[in-house]
Each structure stands twice: as C-alpha cells, then as structure tokens.
Symmetry: C2
C-alpha cells in the first residue's frame, strides 16, 4: 500500500458540498471488496460512476505477454468510471482493491438523474477531471523534458505531500520504477545518486526526506 500518486488531482468528494455528498451517498450502492478482489476487468461494459469510500483501487492492464502493468492508484474520495459515462468507453483498465475497500457505485440511470437534479455535481466532476487532465499533461511534459533524476525527485516530492508520515514516504523501488516507466535498476541507481547528493535517505520500503525545502530547491534548480 504505497503512497503512490493518486494521479495528481484532488479527489472528487473534496469538491462536493456536504449536501451534495449526502445526495451522492443516497444514490449510490456501497460494495465491499477484500484486498485483491477484482472490481471490474478491462473491456467490461458497466457504465456508471464509482467513488472510493475507503481503501484504495489500483488500475492496470495485463499485457499480451502476461505482465501486469499498473497505471494509477486512487484513494479515498476519488472517483472513476467517468469515461464510461461521458466518453462512451468500456472499462479501460482492470481494477483491483488494495486492502479492505468500500466502493460506492452509481449506475448510469441513477447517475443521469442525479446529474440533472444537482448542477453542483457537474462542477465537482469538472474540477476533478480537469485537475487530473492537467496533472497528466504536466507529467507528460516532464517525461519529455526532464532527465530521470529530476523526475524521480519530483515524484518523491509529490508523494511526500500526500504521505501520512511527515518527512517519509512509504514506497518500494519497484513501484517507483514502474510509475516512472523505467527499470528498477535505473531507479536504484538514481536514488543512490540522490542519496549521495544528500537530499534523501533510502530505507527498506520507504524513503526519508530529511529536509523538504532542500529537496524542492534541488528540483527547482533543474526543472526550467
């Protein structure tokens, strides 16, 4: 259960008023999943909006050669499934519960009704998806612009923001490697370099950040 990025954006529920949250709860059916349970598979035709009430969901795809590739991890308050409602897509990824997870599910019919009744829902959804879109664009920009050490540092810094424990990030190098889209060896080497530069300290399944300001400074110096 690493502190891996909730893909940038803030969660939908943060943009909903107390009243709207109540309406959403009322329209939804809560479903409980155990760790590792499959919520849906790539290609399923289940239009509807889902909201993570507790726990987390990991999205990914199984490759032709059988390797699983994770895409993102959404935690409490985040929503998914917008694409089935607004882009007419089937489920784009496999979704798996991480830890004990409760999902609030709103099927298409109910969603459409709620959407028409509650104009604030549209605004909340636009807040959430716009933020996600722009963080994705930023991420892609970095991908082309910045060398691996800087991207790595940025990722660690962004994880530090949402981390439970201050000054420390819970995540193993393999997951980091995947998120950055490079091999574990490269990440290991890069993290080693960053440690030598004194801006972070490697642990077992975690990374300590002795001085957050210093890390941000180091990044700023190298990213335009």
């Amino acid at each position: 259960m690493p502190d891996l990025l909730d893909f940038g954006g803030a969660p939908l529920m943060e943009f909903a008023s107390r009243r709207l949250r109540g309406k959403i709860h009322a329209a939804a059916t809560a479903v409980r999943y155990h760790d590792g349970a499959v919520l849906h598979a790539h290609g399923d035709d289940k239009p509807g909006l889902s909201i993570v009430r507790s726990g987390a969901v990991r999205f990914g795809l199984v490759d032709a050669d059988g390797t699983y590739i994770a895409t993102s991890l959404l935690g409490m308050g985040h929503c998914f499934g917008e694409a089935t409602l607004f882009a007419g897509r089937k489920r784009t990824h496999d979704a798996v519960a991480i830890g004990e997870t409760v999902i609030e599910q709103i099927d298409k019919a109910r969603f459409d009704r709620l959407f028409d009744q509650e104009p604030d829902l549209a605004r909340a959804l636009l807040n959430a998806t716009t933020r996600r879109l722009y963080s994705a664009l930023d991420f892609m920009d970095d991908l082309r612009r910045l060398p691996l050490p800087v991207r790595t540092a940025k990722l660690v810094a962004s994880m530090a923001n949402s981390a439970k424990q201050d000054g420390s990030v819970a995540c193993n190098q393999a997951d980091l490697a995947f998120t950055l889209g490079v091999s574990r060896v490269s990440v290991g080497k890069t993290l080693g370099d960053l440690q030598n530069a004194g801006i972070l300290k490697l642990g077992y399944g975690k990374i300590d950040i002795p001085n957050r300001a210093r890390l941000h400074e180091w990044i700023a110096e190298r990213s335009a």
Copy 2:
C-alpha cells in the same frame, strides 16, 4: 502546420447542440489573431474559456535554456482554458496562433452565468475533458508499454485519421520526434524501418500511407 494530434479527444463544439452553440457564440467575444500571434503566455492570470473558431493554436513552453517545446495543437471547435476555471490555475502554457485564427473568448463572469443557465454546457465540457483525459492516459500507457516503432506507427495512424488529405499525413520528422519525445535521429531511423517494412512511404514534409488497413494490422499485431 502539421497534422499533429489534436490531443486525442473530439472537440467541445461537437458535443454541443445547435442551440447551445448559439448561446456560446452569443456569450463570447471573437478575437482575430494572425499567424504567430501570442494569445497568452505561461503564467498569465486570465481566467476564461476559449474556443477555436477557425485556424489553430499551438501550446508549448520555453525551457530554461530557451528551447521551445510544444505540447499540443488544437484545431477548430476545440476549447482550452478549462484549467483556469475549474482547477484555479494560471495559464499553463504559451499559446500561439497557427495561421489566421479566430478565437471565441468567454471571461469567467460570463462563463459562470452561462454555465448555470445551460446545464448542457457542463455535459459537453465533461465529454470533451474526459475524452482528453483518457487519451492522455492511453498515451502515457503506450509510452511505457510499447517500443518506439509501434508508438511511431500509432501516432502516424492517428494523424491519418484527422488528416485533410486521405492516405497522406503532412508533418515533418522533427515535429514527430518531439511529439514522441525522442530525438529526430531515432524517428528517422524508425520511420526508415517502417518504410522498409512496407507500411508507409516517406516524403518531404509528409508521410504517405498506401494501405491504411495494413498499417492498423501491423500495429494491432504488436500492441497487446
């Protein structure tokens, strides 16, 4: 003025009814820009929604070392600036007109009024941004999953869809290289290989696709 990707999604105006389009036009102020004119710069604080009525807009950023890096190119019917309205961001990129371009501009106050009056606007915006978000996610997925030749072929194929001229795509290798986030040398080599494989033909500032089905087949065989 290459056929470079309109970042995946379909344009906003395609999701608007004739009536809504009328309302949008009525609320907007049209501004004309000549080729190369700057619409806004990165960091400008100009909240509002903009819609491309004719021409196109190229978005990008100037690096610390002065190199300009393009991000996307939006053509007719596409909108931008949602992030200034929904994510509370300043303008995230420099925007430059490509060719004679007319932009319909709706400032924040007018937008909010229109947004409240016209529930369909929310739906249209969600359609557009959701599609863009998911194409961006797909693109990132490909970036990590697929080797360069396949990504290149996919990009060419997607450009072919929106190209004016059938069976041919107008784009130079340098722009392709940037969009793929690799060097011109790599693209040149890769395109050469694809040409040898017989699935496309290189020209000067363009790429011909003798057999679209064959190209898609080639891609499908290699992408999961």
